[in-house]
Amino acid sequence: MFHRRRATMAAFLLPAIVVYGVFMLYPLARGVYLSMTDSLGGPIADFVGTRQYRAMADDPAVTDALWHTVLYAAVVVVVQNGLGLLFASMLFRRPRVRKVLNVVLLTPTLISPVMAAFIWSYLFAPTGGINALLDLVGLHGLNHVWLGDTSTALYSVAAVNIWMFTGYSCAIFLAGYMNMPTELLEAAALDGASGWRRFRSIEWPLLAPALTVNVTLSLIGSLKVFEFPLVLTNGGPAGATDTLTLLVYRNVFGGGKFAYGVALSVVLLVTVVVLSSATSSLLRLRERRI
């Protein structure tokens, strides 16, 4: 009786396996194969081995994009989580304003990246909000063409990313705070530990799992960023904000270099998987050591 029951149960998996297999695993495998052909997207394609990958080594656009992607991710991960942690620890100490401010901080997360990018494209404009605000507080000297200068464009795009997701990081850290055993915090208070000391030796170690989740998430999210650079700069000025995703999009749908674009997407996958699994296993190891 139990045997038949288990067979029926296993059958429950079928619809999910079919959809996931056909629309996720199969395209994944086919992508890896296509990256080793000279396909233009049509039915005719020859196997060319590693030619597309070798071509990337000679393509400065690719090495630049890879560097931009990694730099962008590093800035976003550090600043977004730093700010999120700062907000979370301040909110945790102030139960009266906690709920309201947490919700307010989460509002940017709700809007779509495209819409966020639209709003900020105007705020960053030469006569837009940021410069006008700087004028208002008398800091004319800081006026800048934020998205038009190769030295600030990438960081400006990253700032929008940070603006949108800091509330998210904060919410996860706050969830970590709420899970802390109260006895421990009380004991610390009785021992007279407060402020920085309490944070450093009690809260920070207890937040280790939240940190792992936050860093891994923001890393994956920022490595595959697409809408922000697309809308804000479309890779410009002079390729200063070209990321791997933009190159994939342009090559695959811009015509001509289909297989090259697919090969780039495989590079993106490898980058995401390697960096995120390395980071999360390092952080897990750290969790166990603390």
């Binding site: 396996i17 959809v19 395209p27 907000f87 102030r94 947490n102 901080l105 819409m115 900020w120 939240a210």
Partner: protein, 309 residues
């Protein structure tokens, strides 16, 4: 607010830290003491905190106010006090991005995808949570692998596949793509939730001759409600706000979603903020309305969504 998350992404309490026991005493609020200097510092902190939060909503407020002003007024002073308010920008944007039609399209795609994801995701999670064998662990791992695969990696081969299956410009195609993309997170949510449900009840039902189907629908399914609402919040936000999938797979103007229409209508470098902002606001309006009503669930959902990329 975030403590009622059902599938916890975060485990705390490292063993050695939890051991130290101290007799509980009525506690004074842990951070602030009665010292007036301390209290002043605390108040200052709260003020700074509110100011910091305000900086995060300022772009929003600015967007709303600018949307309500006339173009000439904004040109005169971008940050100035509005002289007159108008709703004309909104009605213009409404017709230019074909708002009614595209909202319906987005709503249709989002809700259909949500239904399919929850149904087949919960069905799949049941055996994965209850059968402990090598093959089921392998299948589970295969699903979880999907959480770190960016859409970009599969977008080109998916395009070819959809073309071969005649599913380009077809809602079913987009729904299937969203289902495949979100199944990993659904399977993860449901499996970890079902593992937390004691199996006693199901065993009793099995002894009474209740088959797997009936057990699932009468015992498991009703228990899944909290995790489903969390999952739905997370998944519907992703789908509603997505640009790439509808941009690539729905080219028929009548089938486009809000995000695609807004994206193709607006060129941020030439368009005025008074046309740009209302379009941006209209795009997120349905979500903001839902957020106001389901605040609690949304916040819980987003923190629990932490497991996904």
């Amino acid at each position: 607010m975030t403590s009622d998350i059902t599938s916890p992404p975060i485990e705390t309490r490292p063993a050695h830290l939890g051991k130290r026991r101290v007799p509980t005493r009525p506690r004074t609020t842990s951070g602030t003491s009665r010292n007036p200097l301390r209290r002043l510092a605390g108040g200052l902190g709260t003020a700074l905190l509110c100011l910091g939060t305000l900086l995060f909503v300022l772009p929003f407020l600015f967007t709303v106010v600018t949307s309500l002003r006339t173009a000439a007024d904004v040109a005169r002073s971008p940050l100035g006090i509005p002289h007159s308010l108008t709703l004309k920008n909104f009605s213009d944007a409404f017709s230019q991005i074909h708002y009614g039609r595209s909202t319906l399209n987005t709503l249709l795609i989002t809700s259909l995808s949500c239904v399919v994801i929850t149904v087949i995701g919960s069905l799949a999670a049941y055996p994965l949570a209850r059968i402990t064998q090598h093959w089921s662990t392998a299948v589970y791992r295969l699903f979880i692998l999907g959480t770190s695969v960016p859409v970009f990696v599969v977008v080109a081969p998916l395009y070819l596949l959809m073309r071969d299956l005649n599913l380009l410009d077809n809602y079913a195609g987009v729904v299937l793509i969203y289902t495949a993309l979100n199944l990993p997170v659904a399977v993860f949510f449901y499996t970890s939730f079902i593992r937390g449900i004691p199996a006693d009840l199901e065993e009793a039902a099995a002894l009474d001759g209740c088959g797997a189907f009936r057990t699932f629908f009468t015992i498991i399914l009703p228990l899944l409600r909290p995790v489903t609402s969390t999952l739905l919040t997370f998944v519907s936000l992703q789908i509603w706000n997505d640009l790439l999938v509808p941009l690539v797979f729905l080219q028929d103007p009548d089938k486009r979603t809000v995000m695609v229409n807004a994206y193709s209508f607006i060129d941020p470098h030439t368009v005025q903020p008074t046309t740009l902002f209302p379009a941006a606001l209209l795009g997120v309006l349905p979500l903001l309305v839902i957020f106001v009503f389901f605040q609690r669930q949304v916040v819980a959902g987003m923190s629990a969504g932490a497991v996904k990329s």
